[in-house]
C-alpha cells in the first residue's frame, strides 16, 4: 500500500515537473491545446461521474458550463471592460463594480453551477433513462436561451469579450498550472470519491436501482449528490474554458459541446476515470491535428476542395467503430492501478 502511495506521489511530482518543461519548450499554440486537454479532462470526469458511475444519462453539461463560465467572467472582469462590452444595454449596477480575484471567482462559478445543478436535478432526477436525457437536454437549452435574453446581465447574444487570462498575475505561464492543476485535483477527488463507500453506492445505483434501494440506499439523495458534484466541476471547467478562449457567448454552449464531452466519455469507457483522462487528451489533440482534413487536400496532383467539418467525420467513424466492436469504450470500467503495472513488469521479467 505504501509503495503504491509513493509511486503515485512520485508520478504527480514528475507530472508537475513535466508541466514546467512543456511550458518552456512548447509554443503558444501547442500550449493552448495542452491547456484545453486539461479542461476537457475536468469536463469529461464530471460528466463521467453522472453518466458513468451513477448511470444517469444526463445531457445537460453545456448548461452548467455556461453558468460557470458567465459567473467567472462577470466576477473577474474590470469595470472598464464590462462597460466596453455592454454597449447595447448597460450592465446592471450591482454587477458592474464587482471584481474578485480569479481563484475566488472560480469557486463561486463552481458553486453557482452546483446550485443550477441542484435546482434542475430536484425535478428531473425523478426521471429515468431517455426521459432524463431529454429533460436535462431541455434544461441546458433553457439556460442558454435565458443567457441569450438577459441582456443587462450576460450581454445577450453579443457575448462577452476580453476575459482576463487564467490566473492571478495574468501571465501565460500561470495558465497551465491552473488548468492541469485543477484537472489533477479533479482526478484525485474523483478517485477518492469512487473508492469510498459513496462511490460504491453510486455504482450500485448504476447496476440496479431497485436492488440499491432495497439495500437501504436513498436513491434521490445519492443521485442529487452526484449530479451536484458533477455540475460543480462542469462549472469550473466551463469557467476555465471561457477564460482560456477569452470570449464567451451563448452559442458556444450549444448541445454540440455536451456531445463532444459525451464522445470523450464514451470513447474512453463509461465508468472509467482512466479512460476519460486518456480519451480527453487524445480527442482534444486529435481535434486539432485533424484540422488538415478541413482544408484543401492534394492527393496525387488532384486537389480536393476542403470541406469545413470533415475532421468530425473521423470522430463519427471512430464512434461507430466503438459502438460496433468495442461497446464498453477504451477502458470499459477498468481503472489504471499500480498493481497492473507492477505485475506486468514481473511477468515480462519472468518470460
Amino acid at each position: 500500500m505504501n509503495k503504491k502511495n509513493t509511486l503515485t506521489l512520485i508520478s504527480i511530482i514528475a507530472f508537475i515537473v513535466l508541466l514546467f518543461i512543456l511550458n518552456i519548450n512548447l509554443g503558444i499554440y501547442q500550449m493552448r491545446i495542452f491547456n484545453l486537454c486539461g479542461i476537457y479532462v475536468i469536463l469529461a470526469l464530471s460528466l463521467n461521474l453522472i453518466n458513468g458511475f451513477v448511470g444517469l444519462f444526463s445531457l445537460g453539461h453545456a448548461g452548467f458550463m455556461a453558468v460557470g463560465a458567465y459567473t467567472c467572467a462577470l466576477l473577474t472582469m474590470s469595470r472598464e471592460m464590462k462597460e466596453m462590452n455592454f454597449f447595447l444595454e448597460p450592465i446592471v449596477p450591482w454587477l458592474k463594480n464587482v471584481q474578485v480575484p480569479f481563484p475566488l471567482a472560480l469557486i463561486v462559478a463552481g458553486i453557482m453551477a452546483a446550485i443550477a445543478g441542484a435546482l434542475i436535478g430536484a425535478p428531473v432526477l425523478r426521471l429515468r433513462d431517455d426521459y432524463l436525457a431529454i429533460a436535462t437536454l431541455g434544461f441546458s437549452e433553457i439556460i442558454r436561451v435565458i443567457f441569450t435574453n438577459t441582456q443587462s446581465i450576460t450581454n445577450g447574444a453579443l457575448g462577452i469579450k476580453g476575459l482576463p487570462s487564467i490566473g492571478i498575475t495574468g501571465k501565460t505561464w500561470e495558465v497551465v498550472i491552473w488548468t492541469w492543476g485543477i484537472a489533477l485535483l479533479t482526478i484525485i477527488v474523483m478517485v477518492l470519491l469512487i473508492n469510498s463507500s459513496y462511490g460504491r453506492a453510486f455504482k450500485a445505483i448504476r447496476e440496479d436501482e431497485i436492488a440499491a434501494e432495497a439495500m437501504g440506499i436513498n436513491l434521490f439523495k445519492h443521485k442529487m449528490m452526484a449530479f451536484i458534484i458533477g455540475s460543480f466541476f462542469a462549472g469550473i471547467g466551463g469557467a476555465l474554458l471561457g477564460h482560456l478562449i477569452g470570449t464567451i457567448d451563448p452559442r458556444m454552449f450549444f448541445i454540440v459541446l455536451t456531445f463532444n464531452i459525451v464522445l470523450i466519455v464514451v470513447l474512453g469507457g463509461i465508468g472509467s476515470i482512466t479512460g476519460s483522462v486518456i480519451s480527453a487528451v487524445v480527442v482534444t489533440i486529435a481535434m486539432e491535428v485533424l484540422r488538415v482534413l478541413d482544408g484543401d487536400i492534394i492527393i496525387g496532383g488532384y486537389m480536393i476542395k476542403g470541406i469545413p467539418g470533415m475532421r468530425m467525420v473521423v470522430f463519427s467513424v471512430l464512434l461507430m467503430m466503438v459502438i460496433l466492436f468495442y461497446q464498453r469504450g477504451l477502458m470499459g470500467t477498468k481503472e489504471f492501478s499500480w498493481d497492473w503495472i507492477l505485475n506486468r513488469k514481473k511477468k515480462t521479467v519472468k518470460s
Binding site: 463507500s197 459513496y198 460504491r200 450500485a204 434501494e213 432495497a214 439495500m215 437501504g216 440506499i217
Partner: protein, 253 residues
Amino acid sequence: MTVLRTDKITMKFGGITAVSQFDMKIDKNEIIGLIGPNGAGKTTCFNMITGVYIPTEGKIYFEDKNITGIKTHEITKLGIARTFQNIRLFKELSVLDNVLIANHMRLGSNLFSSVIKTPDYRKKEKKITDKSISLLKDVGLDNIMYEKSSSLPYGKQRRLEIARALATDPKLLILDEPAAGMNPQESLELMDFIREIRDRFDITILMIEHHMQVVMGVCERIYVLDHGIMIADGTPTEIQNNPKVIEAYLGVE
C-alpha cells in the same frame, strides 16, 4: 413478540384487485411460507411490505410501528431486508462490494469525510469490511469474494443475494422464491441454509416459494393466497390436507 403484522391490506391496480384484505401475523424467529398459484398476489404482498407499493387500504406494522407508506430504503433501515425473484445483484461489482454496499446506509459517514478519508471513516470502512468478510465466510463465499458477482454459478448468486440482504442487519428477511431454478440437491442445501441463518443471525424469515418440498420442509406456518384472497393458513400438515388449497392448486373434480 410480533415482528410483522398486516392489517387487512388491499392492493388495487385500476379495476383489478391484486391482494384483498390480507391479514398476516409473524412472530419472532418464525419461518413463514407464502404460497399460491401464479398470479395469486404473493409478490404484490412483498412489494407492499417493503414499501415498493403503498397499499390501497389497510396498514402494515413492523414491531408495532406503522410502516405503511414509508419509502423502501427507510424500511430497509428499520430492519426488513429482501431478495428478488429474478436475482438482482450488482453484476459488474465484486462479491465483496455487493455486501459492502449493503453496509453503506449504516456507515454514518458523510460524503466529505469519506472523500478525504478521515481516520474515523477509515476505521468504519475497516469495520464494515471485516464484518462483510466474516459474513461471506458464514455463507461460504469467502474464497471467491473478489470475483465479479455475475460470474458466479446460479446457486451461489442466490446465496450471495441472501448474504447481501443479511448485511443490512435485518430483523425480518423476506425471500422471494429462493429455490427457483435450483436442482433437488441445491434445494436441500437451501433448506438447511435457511434454518442455519435463522439461528445464527437470530432473524425471522418470510418466504415465497413454489417448490413444495422446500416450503413443507422448512416453514413452520404457511399462508396460502389465491386470486389475492387468503384461503388458508396453518402448519404444513394442515395446509396439505386443506381441501381449499388442493382445489386452488389442482382444481375440482
